[in-house]
Structures are given as structure tokens and as C-alpha cells.
Amino acid sequence: LIKPADQLELTEAELKEEITRVLTANNPHAPQNIVRWSFKERTYKPILVIDQLAVHFVMEGSLVHQDSDEGRRQMAKEGHNSVMNLPFVGFPQSSPIEDRPDSSASKTDKKELKITNQFNFSERASQTLNNPLRDKSCHTEPPPRSNFSATATQWEIYDAYVEELQKQEKNKEKQKAIQTKENDDKSKKIMLMETQSNDVTKVGKAAKILERMVNQNLFDDIIQDFKYFEDESDEFRGQKGTLLPLWKFHYDKSRGLSVTALCWNKKYQDLFAVGMGSYDFNKQGHGMLVFYTLKNPSFPEYIYLTTSGVLCLDIHDQHSYLVAVGFYDGCVAVYNLKQKGAEPVYKSTAKTGKHTDPVWQVHWQNDDMDNNHNFYSVSSDGRVVSWTLVKNELVFTDIIRLTLNGVISEGPEGAQQPYIACGTAFDFHKQIDYLFLVGTEEGKIHKCSKTYSSQFLETYDAHSMAVDTVKWNHYHPKVFISCSSDWTVKIWDHTINTPVFTFDLNVAVGDVSWAPYSSTVFAAVTTDGTVHVFDLSINKYEALCQQSVVAKKTKLTHLEFNPIHPIIIVGDDRGYIISLKLSPNLRKEPKVRAVQSFQTRISADLQNYILFREDKVMPDIHYSGPTKHGRKQMAH
């Protein structure tokens, strides 16, 4: 043994010691405690498996395997080796009939054999230039949307049909009528205006209804009284009756005017007309024609202002929208309530024969033979004139001239003018058309006929002062009543020259009126503010009711019975109209005896009370009594 110089010196014991040496594949130089950051656990974690590979030598070579693609390509480029050619030489020597691969192989003789490699393929891609993308959007307005909801009910369908029908009718009318373009434009304009105006006045109709409702609430107790209240104390009062005050009608702008005429409307029995003016000769101003309804006591339904005071009025029986009015200045006028306008439709002027003195009474008559409406008027100028409404004008005809003597002497040469009497009241017979009565300022009542203009049929010396009212009885064909400022009310039979009854009321009587439900009941108003109600079948000498209805110093001027309701309206000289309900005692109808018919019974009743004329035999006269409806109304 050659010991090197620096060999470790060991003892023999140490030399014989067996030291085990183990060969492991571990790389002694490999690190043993590599720690790596673990993102999952966010700590440093020791790596357990450590790479034990130790690389001793690395040399990059440039050798390429000859069978690889790269190798083949290189050889193809450099040319063929003889070694390479040898295996190929065999092939071309084979017969040419051999398959294609051979022939192709022969072609590839010059080139190398291309074998498709299923496993080793290369993908070639090339990146072209991509056009930059651009996003273009367009926002349109969404189509307008609206929510529509409707209900299909029976009446909506009905309305649609009705509208359709109206359109069709309009179209038909348009086709018939010749319409110029202008007319269409005008109508279009009118249509536009109507739809644009959001006016408060358009609620007119509804407002009217509401006003009546409000009034109904306010005057509820009065309405209940009007309809249902019957004064039970009448039973204890014997024969007397009372008048229950109901509404009071007043219009602010009628200050200073007194009620000069009252008239109920026959068709709408809650509507009545009031004429306002002044009886005072010195204080003549304007006048008013006002219509009230019981349904609305606060405000009139129709108001017409007139230049001269209204003295009398009458509403046509059938055409209840025509009102004839007589004025203080002698004019007469006809108003049409259906037309809107403050002016009368007809008015008489000096040319057309107006009276020269105040007109005291007007009365509609039946239509004449040409179906024109006509009415009569009486005035202080002594003329009774008939006015006919012909187309647009009033045509007058003098019916009679009232004279003091009673007879107009025809054309005496140079004779004095017969004195003209002043007519103050008249009334037409209910059944006999041509017969009428005229009361004069001198206190006489003349019975006249429409056909005899020169003579009176009869004259009654009625009163010592002017006759204020004369009225025929509604049932009895012979009886009429008259009243005057000479304090008396007189009842007459037209065949007898002297009054049948005379009632002295101690005060000037303003107006008197028969009741429409009984032939024996009548009422009178006096200037001391009292209403007197008489019933001849119960008490021939005294009034059943004498009631003061207004304050002292207020004069009552007119009175009218309502055709169906048991109320009367009374006008006074301050422009107020008071309505009063008649208590049951005043409304007694004569009892019907089974044998005789109702109609004849009434007249016979009255006749019986004209005691000292009992010798006359009453002929059987047929005339119409109150309607069934009216009787029912009164019967309660």
C-alpha cells in the first residue's frame, strides 16, 4: 500500500470497523427543506417531494436524426447519398403495371416519400388583420302607448247605436239641404268653440235641478205642510176655516213695484206668472213680468223687464208658453217663454192700434178659424179689442166701444161724441163663447156679445165705484161675481138685474175669485191685508175665513186659486206673493146625491140658494166638471 501523504491516520481497530455505506438515489446536494408559498393556504409550505436529479453534464448538440423530418429535408436539399439511393433503385425496376403508390413512389423518386403522418401534424394559422369592431346603435322613439280600458255595459252599446243613428240622420239631412262651403266652415267653427269653452254656464240644467233640491231641503217643512197638513182643529171650529201661510215669493229687483196681476199656468200647475207694476198714477215707472214655481221659492224662473208697468196678464190655456200682457201705457204684448230673449214676440204700437189708456185686462180666446191665436183686451179708453197673432204681427179689431149711455149712435151730424166709458175688467163665459161681461169705471157691468158690437145685451148697475173684477162662475152658467172699491162683493145671475147676494166687507175689495173645485166657494182680498173666503153652501152671509195675511198698511191686490192644489196665491202692493193653504173646512165640495149626476148637482146646489128664484126650472145643462185627477187632489 502506498499511503498518500495526507491520508488519515487511523488505528487498526478503527480500520476494521465496518462502515455501512448505502447507495441511494438521493442527490446529496439537493436541498431538503424547500419551502414554497401556497396561495391556497396563504402560508409557506414545505415541499415534500424534492427533485433529486443531478445533472452532471449538458451539451447542446446539433445532430438531427436522419429519419426525422428535419433530417430528411436537409438531405433532400443536399442531394442523395448513395446509401439512400440503394433501396430505391429496386423499385423503378419493377413492372410499370404496379399500383399507383409505386408510380407515385416513382415520382417521389426524385423527392422523398411523403407519408401522411397521423400523429404528428402541424397546424398552420396566420393572423389576419382584424377590422376594428365598432358598435353602432340607434335609439328610436317608442310607439306612443296609451292605456285604454272600458266597460261594455248594455247602455254603452245602446248609446253607440243611438249615436250611429244620429250620424246617419245628420248625413241624410246634409244631403238633402244645399250646404255651401261657408256653412260648413261656420259650423265647424261653432263646434270648435263649443268644445273649447270650459264654461261654468254649461252646467245650467244641472244647476237648476240642484237649486231646487237645495230649496227643497230648506223649505222642507213648508213642503210637507203643503202636501200633507190638514188642520184638524177645523172640526172644532164649526164651519170656519183657516189659511195656512206657506211660501213667500219675492224678487229683489222688484222693489217699489206692486203685484198687479197673477195667473196660474194650466199645464204646469206649480208655475205661476206675476205681473208687476204700479197702480199709483203718479209713480209710473218700469214693470216686470216674473214667473215663479212652487219648486223654487227663492228665485224666479223667468224674468222679463218691461218699460211700462204691467197691469194684467193671461196665460194661454193650451199653449202655456204664450203669455199675453197688458201695460199701463196701453200696449199689449205677447211673450213666448220658449224663446230666449227679453223682448216680447209681439207688441202693439201706436200704429197698430194700441190703447190710449191703461189696459186693465187681457184674456186669451180660442183660436180663430185660421188657427191663429187671439186674445182680447179691455182698457180705460173704452175699447174692447181683439188681437190676432198673424205671422209676425198683431192685428187688432175693435170689438166694442163702451159708452156711458150704452148705445153708440151712428153718425149723427154734429152730435156730441158719446162719452166713453172706461172698462176696467172683463170676463168671458166659460161655455158660451161669444158672451162676455165688462165692468166699467163707473160701476156698471155690461153683458156683451162678440158679434154685436153696437149694443150691450144687458147692463147692470153694479157698484158705486169702479168695478175691479168680474168673474163668471166655473160651473154655474148663469152666475157671476163682481167686486169693487166700494167695499162690496156682489153675486149676480145674469138673467136678473139685481144682485143675488151682496157682501159688504167694510174695506175696499181688491180682487175676487171663484174656487175651481166648487161652485159655491169664492175668495176676496181687501186693501187692509185680509183674505176672505166664503162658501155659500155653508154660510150665506158670513165669510168662513177672514184672515189677515200681511202686515198692516200693506194692501192685497190680487188673488188666484191654484187649479189643482188647495192653495191660493195672494199678491200685495209691496211686490210679495204669499201662498196660503186652505184648510179642509174651506174646501168642502157639495155632497153628491146618487140620483143626479155630479155636474148637474153642483149647479142645482147653487140654484137652491137663490131662494126667491126657485120658481124657475133648471134645464139640464151638461158641462165639464173637474177632472178625476183634480178631484183626487182636492179630496184629501
Partner: protein
């Protein structure tokens, strides 16, 4: 005097509202909140009532309505394009 102002002047009337066919109040004498409340609620009521009346008979139509309560009374009168409401205290 306009009917409208006459009604307002009557005793016990608390207010008047005129509402158009869409339920929007166009004229009123009450304060804003009450008006809007009344108009909206009553509009529905009137439509319902009218629908009821006309369903039974299409040729019929509502003329007016009264709603009487303990404290007051509401009266409604419908028209073609509008309807009027009046609130009244009838016990005055």
C-alpha cells in the same frame, strides 16, 4: 244672478263643486284637499249609480242623487259633460 252663486248664498250650503266628466274639479268653493277628495270619491259613485240605472233600462238616465248622512247632505246633479255637487247642512 247666476244660479251657481244663488245656491251658494242659500242657508246651510257648505260648498259647491263643479266636476267635469273626467273627475277633475273645475270650480269649487271649498278648500283644495276637500275638493279633491269629494270630486274623486263622488265621481266614482255617480258613475256607478249611472251605470246601474242605465243597465236596467238604457233609455233611462240618472237625474240627480242625494246622499243624506248624519251631519250633512250631499246633492249631486249630473249633466251631459259635468256634474255639480252641493253639500248642505239641512238641519240649519
Amino acid at each position: 244672478m247666476l244660479t251657481h252663486s244663488r245656491i251658494q248664498g242659500q242657508k246651510g250650503v257648505q260648498g259647491i263643486i263643479i266636476v267635469n266628466s273626467e273627475g277633475i274639479p273645475i270650480k269649487t268653493t271649498l278648500d283644495n284637499s276637500s275638493t279633491v277628495q269629494y270630486a274623486g270619491l263622488i265621481h266614482q259613485l255617480v258613475m256607478k249609480a249611472r251605470s246601474t240605472v242605465r243597465d236596467i233600462d238604457p233609455q233611462n238616465d240618472l237625474t240627480f242623487m242625494r246622499v243624506r248622512s248624519k251631519k250633512n247632505e250631499i246633492m249631486i246633479a249630473p249633466d251631459k259633460d259635468y256634474f255639480l255637487i252641493v253639500i248642505q247642512n239641512p238641519s240649519d
